[in-house]
Symmetry: C2
Amino acid sequence: MEKKKIIGIVGGMGPYAGLDLTRKIFDETRASSDSEHLPVALLSYPQRIPDRTGYIAGRANVNPAQEIFEIVRELIRLDVSIIGMPCNTAHAPQIFDELRRLVTDAGLQVQVLHLIEEVARYLIEQGQDHRNLGLLATRGTYAARSYQAVLEPLGFQVITPDDAGQERVHAAIYDPDYGIKTHSNPVREKAQHELRAIVGDLRQSGAEAIIVGCTELPLALGGDEVEGLPLIDPTGILARALIREAAPDKLRSHPTTVHSF
Amino acid sequence: MEKKKIIGIVGGMGPYAGLDLTRKIFDETRASSDSEHLPVALLSYPQRIPDRTGYIAGRANVNPAQEIFEIVRELIRLDVSIIGMPCNTAHAPQIFDELRRLVTDAGLQVQVLHLIEEVARYLIEQGQDHRNLGLLATRGTYAARSYQAVLEPLGFQVITPDDAGQERVHAAIYDPDYGIKTHSNPVREKAQHELRAIVGDLRQSGAEAIIVGCTELPLALGGDEVEGLPLIDPTGILARALIREAAPDKLRSHPTTVHSF
């Protein structure tokens, strides 16, 4: 049996997002028995990685890239050669670029896929015509303009909520009373209601599809579309990209978790 | 912040069972933010671990304990101190006892919890009066009498299907056309139908509760009860046992995935 490359996952940002990516890797793998599934190592160490949005907002001095890098080293010691991070906010340039620098400076032989660059690749490969994309994300991702930095040079328009709307999306994720990070199973109705309202606003502003740009959000927004707009799920796209790099022959031709539109 | 012990999971037996245990650890943890969740390392290496039932049936010579032991060593290098294996069949005496011997002989400082011993502990702590327990399991677990070996000395009666019934349960798990290992998301209706029929037979034979004794089965049998009989979910029990050993203050007092009855 050919030895398959091990897929590593830097989890814990948050814990359920790590599970969601792992499940989507399994779902997107062509396998009819246990042994046909790919090897995956998930390290879910939420206490070690500082809050990403807090760092981007300047409320914390320590770059989360440092601790993510230490976990990447642990994954490499497990013989992992391809790594994914199910956290959009960790792909802000000030965090991800620093991680890339640390990996390069240490001379590590590992491929850390960039979640948002994979979304761009997916959109282009789909040849789809929705050029106006609404973005649901954390305060950190909005502030860092992580999606704009990658997508706008390619001709896409990224549409974001106004300031109050961004705060409502952030609260749907973080609020201790109804946010997804606290109440993830089951998700509170208020979180779902708030997100649907914001999607409605984004549609009013011209959005033709919605990027579900925080890995907690698929827990609240299931299915193919919301308020009549197709959903783009970066976690599902990252899952397929990891399989493509690890074992392209194992990639399902008909995606089950990423919907063409 | 107090450093929490890392929980290690030997996954891949099968891949979705590893996810199910990880999710139940998160669900059973008292946490209101990412950073309050416990550190978990999941190594899902399905290709490395030979089929457990095949070994018990004498169709394979290599004891799966050997490769499980290698994965335990990798977990220890990650500083894991408590390990769970979401696979009932791997707890057959001829596999688990060999694993224990390898760990002891190597002088490794690690606690590998025994899934079935934890079920026994749970039943006794519940002080429940269902002494006649129906068992759904793989051919390997039935043949090895893994549950009987632990539960009968404690006064429980383990009720198993007849030979044809055991084959039907095994097929619901392994059959390439409708078994859970091939069709886990979604599970095929035939697999669910077959399992319900066998539960009906076990009730006829006097079973007062059902042990869902293969980690693939909760994917097909959700909820608290089937055919009027309460379900005992060893995966949920193992999740709680792992938290109890790693950080007892983090264990939810009201279980969400294990139902008292």
